[in-house]
């Protein structure tokens, strides 16, 4: 299982809007492709991404097969307090990919 990659500023001013970039290795198999025998390859995508900030959800995404393989997502959040951001990706097989990043807010 490949480790997800996230970029979060390690420090920020209180109230500052910070950009977060995330990347996960995942095939995002659409469920529309066929194998060499003409059989449909079952869908296997990340369907939910969530970002929580000290336990509070600040951003969430519901994905469908049109999200490209190795999904990249950049978004923003307000640096409210020092603490931990947690990122979770859940796929059709129920696998949860997760990573965390700490931020110091002055």
């Amino acid at each position: 299982m490949a480790e997800p990659r996230v970029r979060v500023p390690s420090t920020a001013r209180r109230g500052e809007v910070i950009e977060i970039k995330t990347l996960l290795s995942h095939p995002m198999e659409t469920g529309h492709r066929r194998d060499v025998y003409g059989k449909l390859i079952p869908r296997q995508i990340i369907h939910t991404f969530t970002c929580t900030y000290n336990g509070v959800e600040v951003f969430r995404a519901d994905w469908h097969p049109a999200v490209a393989a190795n999904p990249y997502l950049a978004f923003f959040t307000v640096a409210t307090e020092s603490g931990r951001l947690r990122f979770e990706w859940i796929d059709d097989e129920g696998t949860v990919y997760a990573t965390e990043a700490d931020i110091t807010v002055a």
């Binding site: 910070i18 529309h32 003409g38 995404a61 994905w63 469908h64 097969p65 490209a68 923003f76 959040t77």
Partner: protein, 160 residues
């Protein structure tokens, strides 16, 4: 060099014909694409009878993509993102793919800025539509068109 010239020409002609055949094959299974009705239904399922106002949502999408496998998209919604006035959700619709919805992004005051970037898988040339649900109940829309030279589902064609 006099020999290579006709060779190169014929190769180009061949490639062009292959390309044309590819387009024909790609257009072939029309039943696999989302219909206008499916897109309309997907929109209605999400915003009900509300009429989107066609302003305030900007899509950054390349005008042309050589392949549809990973097309960068950035959507920005004009919003102060205050407790009184912010974006709740952003929906991205793709009329030219087998499924009409690409993604829904849940914002909120804590998002701070109503913008997100992703990469899409596009099966063919099409218009990408973004609808933003605002905290006051209104809906805003924006759209961008893209020419996709080689769709993201070519593997299907070769597999069939």
């Amino acid at each position: 060099m006099s020999l290579s010239q006709p060779l190169r020409l014929s190769r180009r002609t061949l490639l062009r014909q292959l390309g044309a055949a590819g387009v024909l094959v790609t257009l072939g299974p029309a039943g696999a694409w989302a219909t206008k009705e499916m897109v309309q239904q997907a929109v209605r399922d999400r915003i009900g009878t509300r009429e989107p106002q066609p302003h305030g949502v900007t899509l950054r999408l390349p005008k042309i993509a050589e392949t549809g496998n990973s097309v960068p998209l950035t959507v920005t919604v004009e919003s102060p993102m205050t407790p009184d006035d912010h974006v709740l959700r952003l929906h991205v619709f793709i009329e030219g793919n087998p499924e009409p919805v690409a993604a829904t992004y849940h914002f909120g005051v804590r998002a701070g800025k109503a913008e997100m970037s992703t990469r899409l898988r596009l099966a063919r040339s099409q218009t990408v539509l973004a609808l933003a649900e605002m905290s006051d109940g209104s809906v805003r829309s924006g759209a961008a068109s893209i020419l996709v030279t080689l769709g993201a589902c070519v593997e299907e064609v070769w597999g069939d």
